[in-house]
Amino acid sequence: MSFTQLILYDEQFKQINEVLEKLYTETNAKVIFLVDRNGQLIASTGETENLDTTSLASLTAGNIAATGSMAKLLGEKEFTIIFHEGYRDNIYISIVGRRVIMVVIFDERSSLGLVRLRAKKAGEDLTKIFDALMKKVESKTEEGVSPFAEITDEDIDRLFSE
């Protein structure tokens, strides 16, 4: 297939987490996570213990995809920010570097203005990290090679043997 596969390496994962941690502290948020546009969770920070982040990731991506289609119908390129206001918690969703989605969940300890301001800066930092990551994946250098280049048919058979 001609699509570039997303591969996340330790180095970029650390950088991403640093950005998220910083944003978490700066905004007093409850939870922050990053999702790719297909609904795969990339990283998360904060009070995630009792949170079903896998489901949230998938629903966030569905939400962004639906909003993107609405934008097209209106002749907009995309809506880059979505905000959900709840009784207790609020969700601020923004698209980062056109390919990943950043989700900030916060309550009354923070405010929309603060989240919006800090998320914008974090988004710029993340865009740089993802640009570097995509370059690395596309370069197919030795360290960019997928671990799946060497799997055998037997490896796959074994997975389905039970």
Partner: protein, 197 residues
Amino acid sequence: MSFINYPAREINCKIVYYGPGLCGKTTNLQYIYKKTNPDSKGKMISLATETERTLFFDFLPLSLGEIRGFTTRFHLYTVPGQVFYDASRKLILKGVDGVVFVADSQVERMEANLESLENLKVNLEEQGYNLDKIPYVVQYNKRDLPNAAPLEEMKKLLNPNDVPDFESVATEGTGVFETLKAVARLVLVEIKKGASE
């Protein structure tokens, strides 16, 4: 488009169940959910109408075991089958790694099957995919019904390229895991191929 996560030692793939309304896509996922060990599955999410018709999608995360130290995680999605939900169907196909076409075996649903298959091709092409090139299997569901069309006829109509196909009764689970395993295997083979190119 699969996602390889080194820090988590995971590979994530997306499989979409496609087919006409009421053919049994959600039932496939429900059976898989029911029969899978709690450790290897997440919550099943269904965005459905009050009458239990799929509105946007069903979602079931599933882990199938390890390959070379990497946990293989499959995200299973269904599309809403009803014709007028086409905009939603297109969205769910984004980033797909493998497709299962669930056909309704009832004779009177043959036209709906063909229409849905054609719709799948068109929607995939819009995303830049070609059904002949992506991991793809066909499932003939509801084989237990008295008005089921002959298998040979269905194969001729719905599977001219002779991709792996399976008879099923999704309500009882017959053929459900065979279908899933077949498409998952094709997806992994494709990833392997893509990685070694």
